[in-house]
Amino acid sequence: MSAPLVALGDTEAGSGVNPPARRRRLRQLTTRDRIVLGVMIAIPTLIQAVLVWIPTLASIGLSFAKWDGLALSDIHGNGLVNYKFVFEQSPQFWPAVLHNVAWLAFLAVIGTPLGLLLAVLLDQKIRGTRIYQTIFFMPVMLSLALIGIIWELIYSPQNGLLDYLLGTHGTAHAIDWFGNSSVNLWAALVAATWRHAGYIMILYLAGLKGVDPSLREASSLDGANGRQTFFRVVFPAMAPTNVIIVVITVIESLRAFDIVYVINHGTNGLELLSVLVVQYLVGETQVIGIGSAFAVVLLVISLVPIVIYLSRTFSTKER
């Protein structure tokens, strides 16, 4: 505690003697540099504030209010009514949570491992690997409308591929994969996995390319077989990529929206939290307070993996 005080006193004492020299030593930046730096920090900060912080804080604020979206003076406090609606009254909320959890479980158990498997297979120098990569990555690049049509062609009860293969197409026993609420979540999850696996594959392939080949060489010299090399050497060496993939899987399952929206606007067994936020915030059906409360719930849930990821990233850097 005492050292800085001494230093401070020192500065004050010396201020009369040679201030310009001192200052120049502390700031090696010209005025121009400072302006440039200032602008470079201010603009992103402003963008960040306008696009992220202000909307976030406004949403949190509005989730405790009632507002018809017209005059700002009409915003009135509403206590916990909106949250009561979310947790107790809305019959869609708990199914939506359950569906998001199912989404996470499905992607974690099937989607992501499938992407890893594809990446590992395509990383072997097999012939035509680039063609396969393109094929598996294709779904990530397709527009949603197109994805909706593609899966409609597969799942349609009248003339869809799946019912055709089952021999039930066009009959009364045909399964309406998107319309039957006991199966449509799984049908949608298959479609989502189709997209997700390609995404994970590309990320993981990039990670695999970055693994030092001498590691594999060393492990094979030590007599490890292919499986051991992968699980004991390559996989641990890819820890940073693995963390990113875990985070992406979690985030993907939380922000899942597009596919169910294309199917039936996220109703009839395909309710998701993101859909509820949109239902109550966009368009004619807007009820701002309730929509904000749904959004805040989703935000709080999303913060968990984000905080874990960030704390991990920063702690690694400190080390």
């Binding site: 009632k66 507002w67 018809d68 979206g69 017209l70 509403n78 009514v81 909106n82 009561k84 609606f85 107790e88 009254q89 809305s90 019959p91 869609q92 949603l144 409308a145 909706g148 009860p157 009364a172 309406d176 998107f178 319309g179 039957n180 609420s181 929206f257 597009d258 929206y261 294309v262 039936n264 606007h265 109703t267 009839n268 993101s274 949109v278 239902q279 109550y280 966009v282 368009g283 004619e284 059906t285 807007q286 009820v287 701002i288 307070g289 309730i290």
Partner: protein
Amino acid sequence: MAETGSGRFIMDRRSIVKGLGLGAVGLISAPVLAACSSGGSGGGSGSGGGGGSLTFGSNASDPVPKKAYAAFVAAFEKKSKDKVTVNTSDHNSFQDKITNYLQGSPDDAFTWFAGYRMRYYAKKGLVADVSDVWTKIGSNFSDALKKASTGEDGKQYFVPNYNYPWGFFYRKSFWAQNGWSVPGTFDELVTLAKKMKAKGIIPIAFTDKDQWPACGTFDYLNMRINGYQFHVDLCAHKEGWDTPKVQEVFTTWKELLPYYDPNAAGLTWQEGATKVGNKQAGMMLLGSFITQQFTDPAVLNDIDFFPFPAVKVEGTDAVEAPIDGLMLSKKGGQNQAAKDMLAFMGTGAGQEAYYSVDKSNIMTAKDADTSGYSAFTKKLADVIANAKSISQFFDRDALPAMAANVLEPAMLNFIKGGNINLTNIEAQAKTLYAQQ
């Protein structure tokens, strides 16, 4: 998706582009669009007899209605010598951005619907009172139409253009061949459905993938059991949902469930209409826009209509016939040319100009020339003309969030399982209506 192309009535407004990105773009672009549109209205105010100008915001983005409104505007310009600048927006986004639109710098006149939202914006003072227009055109409309154009304060805010009735549609020849006759009461309807089921067809092509079609059955049963006024009060949440009256609606409805298409939850109305068209289904309750689906003239000419049968009270007095028309923004209320255009919409000449292009609806003005109507259209028109009260659709008569987020999902569950939790619906309704 299939739904975006075809029906431009409720269909289109329900396939709302709620996608997050698009929604955001819509929100951002709303003020921009509104700003663009405000340009032309400068010199119009107070000019009266010609030479004025106004801007007109139209949601008629589909080809036929767009041309129809162009014909209407041309007829008005010719008659009044006023200059109209038309700003057409996409049907769905117009609907989604309406709140921003009215608060920004809206056009003088714009297309809208009768119902809750009309009364709501009137109450909030975002639209102009057109009672003075109604003193000119009032005699040209039935009382039911006037009631539908009136806000909570008793003043008029809306001028009807056209409407289209909801009812049962079926194939005449198919029914004649089987000796089926039009049911006049609910019991007769159930008996008929039973006969049809025994014949191995789907008696009632009920389709609820888009969720809003179920509102038609709910509204009719509610009005036939509890009366028109109860429908209005329930939509405004002046009546509660957890009451024996609403319970009776669902109890009655349950009698129909065995006669619905078992795949109702996954089907669109277009698919249902097709089943009626090729005799897989006996009948279907829908708006008269169902006829758009029958592209084969032989089928189209074979389609007939009957009103929802009487159940308990008021016979078949009430008809569900959503009305589309014009309103004035607050600014437009100062512009005589804009008022003149609304008055012109209230005349036969104005409505005929629109109808000359878009023939899928019923003109609402009494002096409109209906000699061009087919026998079928005439029948539809008579049902509306003879109605004692005209309801809109539940999602037009009630708070949109109540309709789309609460009742429609609940009704879909009811269709699937026959259960409805009215206590929960009442709880949600309380919270939602309290926020308006």
